[in-house]
Amino acid sequence: MKEVLMQVDNLKKYFPITGGVFQRTVGHVKAVDDVSFRIHRGESLGLVGESGCGKSTIGRTILRLNEKTEGTVLFQGNDIYSLPKEELRRMRPKMQIVFQDPFSSLNPRIKVGQAIGEALYDHGVTDSKIIRERVLETMNICGLASYQYDRYPHEFSGGQRQRIGIARALIMNPEFIVADEPVSALDVSIQAQIINLLSDLQRDKQLTYLFISHDLSVVEHLCDRVGVMYLGSMVEMSSTEELFRNPLHPYTKALMSAIPIPDPTYKRDRIVLQGDIPSPANPPSGCKFHTRCPIASDICKQQAPEYRDVGNDHLVACHFV
């Protein structure tokens, strides 16, 4: 088995809801509710789920971009939540993030070359010539032309901005990159370019990805393993091949069947889930999925199913598996 790069145990992230006369906390949005997983060096782990399932919050919490509520996060064996501020800052280049929104992720007042290169200054490279060289080299890798060095972000299209975001993450020679819905805001023809860029980079630089997306087909294309989330919990996780061949959790099955296939002759056997996604502030009892589950029974309402290995490294949380 390969080396574990990122180890997440019982991670919880609750956002408080306040109320009452003194604005005391009266409840929590359980964005991430007791999630554990490992990411091995060189692999790419996909996280899928619908809006509000907590996948993006996980991405930010394991990088300590927001504070956790409970649990541990070990990166290369270091607990990133017990590191002092300065040490954490020094470690940051090793773990990077690419954001979803190509517009808000770049500072409108900073030239692209500077945006990509500025982190080098703060991590000990002070020779501006070297920095410029490295920026240009990285821009080249990411498919940006050198004349764009002195341009401002507003002059770029969504796809190019996403390339800039990738270059900014890449220049620090990271080992681990969280890609938070990096292609959701892009058009199909541009999506393919970015997906290809990400997979080329992984191959050339032995990168490890946590790839967050709501699009199962993109995850299938790019990831080695996939975790499926629903309302803050991991409901199923296994290797991509296994998951798509043999999905076990009823939610995973429904999610897969809901994706429209671009083939008019395709015979659909769709499981249409009834109702809406419940609010993560007030999740259902027992198995959180029971309100929409086609096979739910009494036990699902009362008891949360155990998240267990059913063999072949296939983890699932359902009473009926």
Binding site: L88, R92, I97, F99, P108, R109, S157
Partner: protein, 307 residues
Amino acid sequence: MSADVMPITENKNTKAKAVDTPWKTAMRRFTRNKLAVIGFIMIVFMFILCFIGPLFSPHNLFDYSLKNKNLAPNGTYWLGTDKLGRDILLRMMLAGRISLLVGLVATCITVMIGATLGAVAGFYGKLVDNLIMRVADIFMALPSLPILIILGAVLSDLKVHPSSRIYYLMVIIGVLNWTTLARLVRGQILTLREQEFMQATEALGLKDKRKIFKHLLPNTIPVIIVAATLSVAGAILSESALSFLGIGVVPPTPSWGNMISAANNLIDFRKRPWLWIPPGMCILITSVAINLIGDGLRDALDPKTKK
């Protein structure tokens, strides 16, 4: 819908185009706004009039000549003379220096206090933020005109010398106004902090210094510029109101406000409008001009208004 029509894409032919910095774009937008440009011309005119005009005046501020007192506007005294026979135009220009200066310096003080406290509150959050904002609440609820009036009266009672009163006034007006700016700056910083590029600075492990000076401040400056511009007008109006009541800038130092207080004398008010209408018009023009500029700047600096 506009999102569907206008993707900002780049053509090959833009390769040769010069880089358009955000400031240049703002300048271009500003100069395209007719009202703002008119405001700018008006304010430049006022400055030239007040600071350079007196140099060309044939009269002297201390030309007391009772035989020339209360003259209506004529060839020698374009705007007439007052009861001591002094030239109104000259006095008005010199008064303008004082009024404009009070407005500018008071605003500088406002900006220094307001922007610093707002930025500190927004950046550090938590306890510091709470503390600063509670103090701001107190200042917000203070009725500003009554307080200014009391303070003006205090200055009179402390027998502050007329020539140094203007400095006290600058400080008082400046200090009382800090909350608006502090709130704006804090709000802007809180908004910025939610933006993904600020999260990126954290993820990249940038130093706090760079985060503040390269990322936060440059994006906050537009807000400060607009608020500061508008607050110059406010400060000038406050000063003139106080001076009109006789508790701001007091004679012999001329200011537009205390020149208007000539109107308190019924005869002067009725029969000698040249004593008080010109300085009133100056206040009006200056404040309209500043408001126009401020509004133009707001539109020019706001990234949301794409043109």
